[in-house]
């Protein structure tokens, strides 16, 4: 399914999350300067396409110039910098996960961004 780029920036992560939750026949987005494609793993009905278009049309301008992944990368560096200064015997579970690069939850990622990201 092809969409037209808007004249302003949108949050593609939000659109992707909405598609994942609401349209299981889709599988992500392929975006290039000259194309914007919602990948279909099963054909979408006209009604489903209209729902996607309506949501897309309702998306506001995305004014944040730093993506979530960039914020998380920066926050993790700051976090690890602080870990170097802490007594290892006082490490929390999250401290140990970050130190060992083990998987963390999205909520934990969000908290790290809040606590350690500095613009």
């Amino acid at each position: 399914m092809n969409l037209q780029w808007k004249a302003y920036r949108i949050n593609l992560e939000d659109l992707e999350a909405w598609l994942t939750q609401n349209h299981p026949k889709t599988d992500g987005i392929n975006a290039s300067i000259d194309s914007f494609i919602i990948v279909e793993i099963e054909p979408l009905t006209d009604d489903e396409k209209n729902q996607i278009i309506a949501y897309y049309d309702s998306m506001p301008e995305y004014t944040d110039t730093v993506s979530r992944s960039e914020k998380l990368t920066s926050a993790l560096l700051n976090y690890k910098g602080e870990l170097l200064l802490k007594d290892i015997t006082t490490y929390s579970i999250l401290d140990k996960k970050v130190l060992l690069s083990l998987p963390i939850t999205k909520d934990e990622e969000d908290q790290i961004i809040v606590d350690y990201y500095t613009a």
Binding site: G28, V39, L76
Partner: protein, 141 residues
Amino acid sequence: MSYFGAATDVNPFQYPPIAYAEAQATANTTTSSSTYSLLNAMTITPLVGVYQVIFSCSASNSGGFLGAGYNETFFAIYVGGVKVNHSERQFSAEASHNHNVSINCQVAVDGSQAIEVRWNRDGGTSTCHERTLTVIKMADV
């Protein structure tokens, strides 16, 4: 296996090559899909023949840190919509680091089949930067 046995009147080593085509792009393209789909601008439909296919690019993935382990990004050559299985390449991404990807393989086409590079990823958003797809005819079918 020799692709040249059926084309005894063609010297596969002659230079310049019998036929040559190149697709190239510099603008970033992204995917958040786990379904193989066309890598923007990387498609060529050559005349019938046996072709050497060469592809290379730089690429990265946004989310390969702690969220769900390392994300994989996959590339493969498709001919007429069918994957050339041995052409599949992948890299494991860590925090938006760039990786080089290269593929080479020989394929036969009937004149109507597109030679494409397709890609997908298993997490995060993958971005492909500069990229080039080259096909060189080696022999008649």
